[in-house]
């Protein structure tokens, strides 16, 4: 028994740094004004962490290269746009539908569908899980690079769909407002906590984003150390052997796609509400690559690595590039030698440069998963045979 107690205490000890970090992050907003640029950067970073962790399930665990992850962000954000705004203005004879929203929303926005944030979240989860499975289907018989191409196309289809949705009119309602925004979107209103407007107070958004990250982290860890997680890794390592050991390929891959997509939907719905607007410019192909870069930077398949990668790249994006590289002495230096561009204009060049640096200096990622480190140094089994039996 004492041995068990010992084991338990060592397990807690291993979690201690993570717990301290979480508490520190949770207290952070109390030391900042309610409306604060740094806080908004952190919220953005936390949302990226959620998405990167979702992508990590597909790419890192199951080994299915997905270049169209932005599609799930789009679905989540559109869910917020559709069900928490005036978008469907003539619904219910112009009187709108209000479910679980505050008095303020009901009186200020009498038209359209206004649904409680929690319900939107659930809706976004369901929609993106289905969308994830749907994008999974055509890739089932493909491998490696070919999966990447199909998912890339899928991501593009969804973002075109969002961009041109203003011309797809069904029963008098456009699917989206295209490049124009669906706005305003109902502000966060949680049971017990009350209503918070992102225009005046970011704290609740911050804590909500942190809570989402924690939930997603929890799910990631639990799944990784489960029957399903082992099946994903087996699949990534050797599909043929996995199938021969009783792992159903189709179902296992589709669950990876669906769960990964779900996290994108969660983050999307959150960002939709947080940004107070949803428009097609938010769903660019670059986001998919940006997220993939986070996963690779942190270490494919490594949960903590991905968290670090996402936070770092997000800060490069929202802080380092606009506030350090493009301001002050560094920018003056550039213009002195006659280079009149800003780093904001060549953002993806900066990210690409970081990735190249990583590939040279530390290809396994900042905080590699034990397995990946092995794979990179010793390689995995061949991929010669294919499973022929149809799903």
């Amino acid at each position: 028994m004492s041995k068990l107690a010992e084991l338990r205490s060592t397990r807690w000890a291993a979690w201690l740094p993570a717990i301290i970090a979480v508490v520190a992050v949770a207290l952070f907003p109390l030391f900042r004004p309610p409306l604060d640029a740094t806080m908004s950067d952190v919220i953005q970073a936390l949302a990226y962490v959620v998405m990167a962790l979702g992508l990590n399930i597909v790419v890192g665990f199951a080994g299915l290269l997905d270049l169209g992850y932005v599609a799930f962000y789009a679905f989540g954000a559109l869910a917020a746009g559709w069900f928490a705004s005036d978008h469907f203005s003539k619904v219910n004879g112009g009187e709108g539908v209000h479910i679980g929203v505050s008095e303020f929303v009901t009186t200020a926005f009498p038209q359209g569908i206004h649904v409680s944030f929690l319900l939107i979240m659930i809706g976004a989860i369901i929609v993106t899980a289905v969308a994830g499975a749907v994008i999974g289907l055509p890739t089932l018989r493909l491998r490696g690079d070919y999966i990447a191409i199909v998912t890339l196309a899928f991501g593009e289809i969804i973002s075109r769909f969002a961009a041109n949705g203003d011309e797809v009119v069904i029963k008098g309602y456009a699917l989206s407002n295209g490049r124009e925004s669906i706005s305003p979107i109902d502000q966060l209103n949680l049971p017990l906590v009350g209503e918070f407007d992102s225009a005046t107070n970011l704290r609740l958004y911050f804590w909500l984003a942190l809570a989402l990250v924690l939930v997603v982290l929890f799910v990631n860890f639990r799944l990784r150390d489960s029957r399903l997680g082992r099946a994903w890794i087996a699949l990534r390592e050797d599909e043929v052997a996995a199938a021969s050991m009783g792992v159903p390929l189709v179902r296992t891959k589709l669950t990876a796609y669906a769960i990964g997509a779900t996290f994108g939907g969660i983050a999307g719905a959150f960002l939709g509400v947080y940004n107070n607007s949803v428009n097609a410019n938010q769903f660019q192909f670059g986001i998919s690559i940006f997220l993939l870069a986070m996963v690779i930077l942190g270490g494919l398949g490594s949960i903590w690595g991905v968290v670090i990668g996402a936070v770092l790249l997000s800060f490069v994006n929202t802080y380092v590039i606009p506030d350090v590289l493009d301001k002050g002495s560094f920018n003056n230096l550039l213009s002195d030698v006659g280079l009149d561009f800003t780093f904001g204009e060549i953002k993806f060049g900066v990210f690409g440069f970081i990735l190249v640096l990583m590939m040279v200096l530390r290809p396994q990622g900042l905080l590699p998963e034990r397995r990946r480190a092995i794979e990179l140094t010793e390689g995995t089994g061949g991929d010669d045979a294919i499973v022929e039996t149809r799903a």
């Binding site: 929890f218 799910v219 639990r222 799944l223 489960s226 029957r227 399903l228 997680g229 082992r230 099946a231 890794i233 087996a234 390592e237 050797d238 043929v240 052997a241 996995a242 199938a243 021969s244 050991m245 009783g246 792992v247 159903p248 390929l249 669950t255 769960i259 034990r370 397995r371 990946r372 092995i374 794979e375 010793e378 995995t380 089994g381 061949g382 045979a385 499973v387 022929e388 039996t389 149809r390 799903a391």
Partner: protein, 266 residues
């Protein structure tokens, strides 16, 4: 676990006219084949005779172009590999195909996948049922590794760090973990010295007797084949050219021809 149901058949596994055609190449040409329950039988033949292709059809990796495969009185022609595994067929591979970044124990745990029930939601919540199952499966995996003779110190080693012989052991343990009634071994003694081969031969007999297994074996080492098999089938160019008791096969002219070539003398 499904004990062999005697649905009018007495064979563990049988095939009728099974062929596999890749483009213009007939890799396996209408092979009829049968294995009696609780026996050890071998398929032999020169390289490229279609033995592994035949194996891949039995385990569902390839779909037969023609013919029928019955296992325990159940038609498994073209069934998905994971389902066939769940029915009770397990295999090893000619070139070891362990999940190289997983530990020995984890490899064996994957082998138990089909016998486990933990779903997505229960795994996230880690329900008492899932907790218990995980613990049991881990325990069984360790027992299985012990059974195949892996040293305890190697249990948590990443499988790519194990020696060749140990990797073979883990692969067999992984196959056994799915609780099969039929075990297919694809050249299990490849790369082993005579001593190790002899030990493996003994081990196969032990498996048959202790675990009630039927074993089908592809093998090149004639000493192993002749020593352990109750029945031998010979394939050449995808066709079955002979079958019978080891003694009969040894004396069969066509078999000798297939292996050594036709004598050209008068």
């Amino acid at each position: 676990m499904s004990e062999p149901e005697t649905n009018g058949t007495t064979s563990k596994l049988s095939t009728e006219g099974v062929s596999k055609i890749f483009g213009g190449l007939v890799a396996v040409d209408s092979v009829d084949f049968e294995i009696a329950p609780r026996s050890i039988v071998s398929i032999i033949g020169p390289n490229g005779a279609g033995k592994t292709t035949f194996f891949n059809m039995l385990t569902g990796l390839y779909k037969p172009s023609t013919g029928r495969i019955m296992f325990d009185g159940r038609d498994i022609t073209g069934t998905r590999p994971d389902k066939i595994t769940a029915f009770g067929v397990a295999r090893t591979f000619q070139n070891i195909r362990l999940f190289s970044t997983m530990s020995a124990v984890e490899n064996v745990m994957v082998g138990q996948h089909a016998r486990m029930t933990g779903g997505m939601f229960s795994s996230i919540l880690r329900t008492p049922g899932v907790r218990r199952e995980e613990r049991e499966v881990r325990e069984q995996a360790r027992e299985m590794l012990d059974y195949v003779g892996l040293r305890v110190a190697e249990f948590d080693q990443v499988s790519s760090n194990l020696s060749y012989g140990d990797q073979r052991r883990v692969e067999i343990a992984r196959a056994l973990a799915s609780d099969p009634s039929l075990l297919l071994l694809d050249e299990p003694t490849a790369g082993m010295n005579p001593n190790e081969s002899a030990r493996l031969t003994e081990f196969m007999e032990r498996l048959r007797d202790e675990k009630n297994l039927t074993i089908l074996l592809i093998e090149h080492d004639m000493k192993v084949v002749m020593g352990v098999s109750q029945h031998i089938t010979v394939l050449d160019h995808g066709e079955k050219i002979a079958e019978g008791l080891p003694r009969e096969i040894r004396e069969n002219e066509r078999v000798v021809e297939a292996y050594l070539g036709k004598s050209t003398g008068d």
